[in-house]
């Protein structure tokens, strides 16, 4: 594993955070930590309690990227901690366990224009509220409205901004916003007992330990909870007061409330770096976009990739206490793995028969792990420790030289034949990869989603294991419809082995077409482990396809796909195409 340690341009070992450098720095930038409500310099400390407790120079902000031209900070630094020539450093470390705790991002309410976040200065987000009420914030904890720095007397909180809203593609509950708002109202009641606080909500979810007590305290402190989400907000250009219109769903009446300030209780969204991390570690995500765990109940902190674990928000919205609990659980799981000292690798790796190998090198070309070593004129060799057992090589080898241990051609073909031995016309044959689509089928089961009974699923480790021969055999046995299913393109658990699946399917469709078999009888679908619903839907679609297939068609297919008496070696052109 390689880590890029970014240049700080200030040596944290020397810096004593005396602030002299920032005092002389001429560059003024919005302070990200304060949500842009105050400013910082190009050389700054992120916040007073930062760890490491050291200043940092943001080179992009520094004067014209040519610090020599200014150099004021270095001049005043008594510790000589500033080094303009500091470089990023690449650190390489071997690790045995990885904990993914990349957190979340806060929903940006700009798109919900009805609340006027970008139009009205006195509409703020709950994150901005945090900075305004904090003693370490830009106003030293004096809660004022942005437009005139006066203390607001009537404050409204709007819940579920960016949560539980399928219209904007965010159907999930963000988990923390109800209690965060309850907390905010208690803070206001404590600091300024004369403010009137209104909370507009659809449900208050006070489900955790001592949450209900807090909710009741807020009501006792005078907070008015109004059931209903406002339709829009108007601003009086003179007074900058805000009027919100809301249907009170308890009374059924349309209400208008004039407020000095509105706080949008914003939800949370999956972190920006999610796809980068999931690509590196082959992780899957749920339909909400958070990381998918190995099992929702029994392996809640394990990633499907062995040795990878989750902690905190990136797995699902949760509060601080739950994050801490999960971090403890994940540390325990990772610790157990590290303590074990060694792990056994499932005996599903590839083996090459030197005698049968024609030294074509196709297997080495399709191996996503580079686990097959092939030199011209020599039989290919598998490096067992590097082989993950996807089976892409086994399905690619045309000469029967590769045996996938525990998922052999013979075993899989035997399954095809056994399933389709009787009344094949009534069955949809499904190949599902272990990690995603088979698990998606499990998810459909756990969630009790119903779908037609006609499908018969067999499992391979990766969709890339499914050879042309296996699919053709299913059709020869009389299957009206065949589905090959795997992980979503970017989520393949074998790096990118499922690209081989796509190529193979393309060749199969062409082959079927040439043989006069309707290519749509063979389908390819990507179904993730979290997509039980999609699994059920695909099974329904497959059943619709099956129903269109006649007995005559099935008989014709059997004849048309009959294997030639003796299989010839494929033409070199085809072989080259397979490897490309």
């Amino acid at each position: 594993m390689k880590i890029r340690k970014k240049a700080r341009y200030v040596d944290p070992g020397l810096c004593n955070a005396c602030e002299e450098c920032a005092k002389v720095c001429p560059v003024v930038k919005p302070d990200e930590f304060q949500m842009g409500l105050s400013s910082r310099k190009a050389i700054y400390i992120p916040f007073p309690q930062a760890v490491p407790c050291s200043y940092i120079l943001n080179m992009d902000d520094c004067l014209g990227n040519n610090p020599i031209a200014c150099g004021k900070c270095a001049d005043v630094c008594e510790k000589k901690a500033i080094d303009y020539d500091d470089q990023d450093e690449i650190i390489e470390r071997e690790v045995g366990a990885i904990i993914v705790a990349i957190g979340m991002d806060v929903y940006d309410p700009t798109e919900m224009d009805e609340y006027g976040y970008t139009r009205f200065e006195n509409v703020i987000t709950s994150m901005e509220f945090e900075r305004l009420i904090c003693a370490g914030g830009p106003t030293a904890g004096h809660f004022v409205r942005p437009s005139d720095h006066e203390r607001p007397k009537r404050i409204g909180f709007i819940q579920c901004v960016g949560s539980r809203n399928p219209k904007i593609g965010r159907p999930y509950c963000s988990n923390i916003c109800c209690m965060n708002t309850v907390k905010d109202t208690l803070l206001l009641a404590d600091h300024y007992p004369d403010t009137d606080n209104y909370v507009f909500y659809q449900d208050i979810r006070a489900f955790g330990k001592s949450f209900e007590d807090m909710f009741q305290r807020s009501k006792e402190a005078g907070t008015k909870f109004i059931r209903g989400l406002p339709g829009d907000i108007e601003e009086d250009p003179e007074t900058r007061k805000l009027t919100i219109t809301v249907e009170n769903t308890t009374s059924g009446r349309l209400e208008r409330h004039e407020l000095d300030m509105v706080v949008l209780s914003v939800g949370v969204v999956p972190p920006k770096d999610r796809d980068k991390v999931s690509g590196l570690l082959t992780l899957s995500k749920t339909s909400d976009g958070f990381f998918m765990e190995s099992h929702p109940k029994l392996k809640p902190v394990d990633a499907p990739t062995r040795g990878v674990f989750f902690a905190g928000f990136c797995e699902a919205p949760k509060d601080i206490k739950d994050s801490v609990c999960q971090a403890g659980a994940t540390a325990s799981r990772a610790g157990a793995l590290l303590n074990a000292g060694e792990i056994s690798v499932e005996a599903i790796t590839s083996r090459i028969d030197e005698e049968a190998c024609t030294q074509c090198g196709l297997c080495a070309a399709v191996c996503p792990y580079g686990a097959i070593i092939w030199r011209k004129g020599e039989p290919a060799v598998v490096v067992e420790a590097a082989c993950a057992g996807c089976g892409a090589c086994g399905a690619t080898c045309q000469f029967g030289a590769i045996t996938m241990r525990h998922f052999t051609d013979e075993q899989l073909i035997a399954q095809v034949r056994a399933v389709l031995a009787e009344n094949p016309q009534d069955k949809v044959f499904v190949f599902a990869c272990n990690w995603c689509s088979y698990a998606g089928g499990d998810m459909a089961g756990i969630s009790r989603m119903q779908y037609p009974t006609t499908n018969r699923v067999i499992r391979t480790m990766c969709s890339a294991r499914v050879s042309e021969e296996m699919v053709l055999e299913a059709f020869r046995c009389g299957a009206p419809a065949v589905l090959v299913s795997g992980c979503h393109y970017a989520d393949c658990h074998y790096i990118n082995a499922n690209r081989q699946t796509v190529k193979r399917m393309q060749r199969l469709w062409n082959k079927l077409d040439k043989a006069g078999v309707r290519p749509e009888r063979l389908q390819l679908e990507w179904i993730s482990a979290a997509e039980g619903q999609k699994f059920a839907k695909v099974m329904r679609q497959m059943e619709e396809i099956r129903e269109t297939v006649t007995m005559e068609e099935i008989e014709h297919t059997k004849q048309a796909l009959k294997p030639k008496p003796k299989k010839k070696a494929p033409k070199s052109k085809e072989a080259a195409a397979a490897a490309s």
Binding site: A101, G103, V106, I133, C134, E342, R405, G445, R456
Partner: protein, 202 residues
């Protein structure tokens, strides 16, 4: 084979799990068991209430000895849940764990086809036939052991990452904590007070 090297004969034992009513509520497990007896090389069929529970596992172990089984098919839930359980079970009875195969009658059948007694039972039979066909061709396998580097990487220095790193550190493990921002603390550091205790975030 593995359990009985002198004997070349394949002897498959099929264990059909009711899983209480999880499977037996939607699938005729008795009919599935009867059907399994007709499959090639099947030497014994046992129906269990809960195959994964100790009594169920003991029935597997007893049958392996009594019927000189050298292949086992457990027709119960998804292999993604209990494959390790049953692999361990047959290992304890002296069999190579790779000679055990599962048929997924629960997640892929009974749970998704409630109220379709006939069709679900038909599907369950096919799934067992598929598993037996595969089991007959299974070969014993040996696993490779790989050493684990005794160091953990934690990606993200928010409250979850910090806590996980500290826990691992306290347990004596080396930890590399990676944070993209200049300071650890994450979003929690930006909060003023936190619920439900109303104390400071930092």
């Amino acid at each position: 084979m593995a359990s009985n090297p002198k004997d070349d004969e394949i002897r498959v034992g099929v264990f059909v799990c009711d899983c209480g009513l999880n499977i037996a509520g939607a699938v005729d497990c008795g009919a599935v068991a009867e059907y399994a007896e007709t499959l090639p090389d099947v030497a014994c069929v046992v129906r269990n209430k809960y195959t994964c529970a100790d009594p169920g596992q003991n029935e597997i172990k007893d049958a392996i000895r009594q019927h000189r089984l050298n292949r086992v098919v457990v027709a119960s839930c998804t292999p993604r849940q209990h494959e390790p359980t049953f692999r361990q079970c047959v290992r304890e009875a002296g069999m190579n764990p790779y000679l055990m195969e599962m048929a997924n009658l629960r997640e892929h059948c009974s749970w998704v086809h409630p109220g379709e007694w006939e069709a679900a039972t038909g599907k369950a039979k096919d799934l067992v036939a598929s598993a037996v066909a595969r089991a007959r061709l299974l070969q014993p396998q040996e696993e490779l052991s790989v050493p684990v580097t005794k160091r953990a990487l934690v990606i993200g220095g928010g409250v979850a990452g910090i806590e996980a790193a500290l826990e691992l550190g306290d347990a004596g493990h080396q930890v590399v904590l990676v944070e993209k921002q200049p300071s650890i603390g994450g979003i929690m550091a930006q909060l003023d007070k936190t619920y439900p205790t109303m104390d400071c975030s930092i």
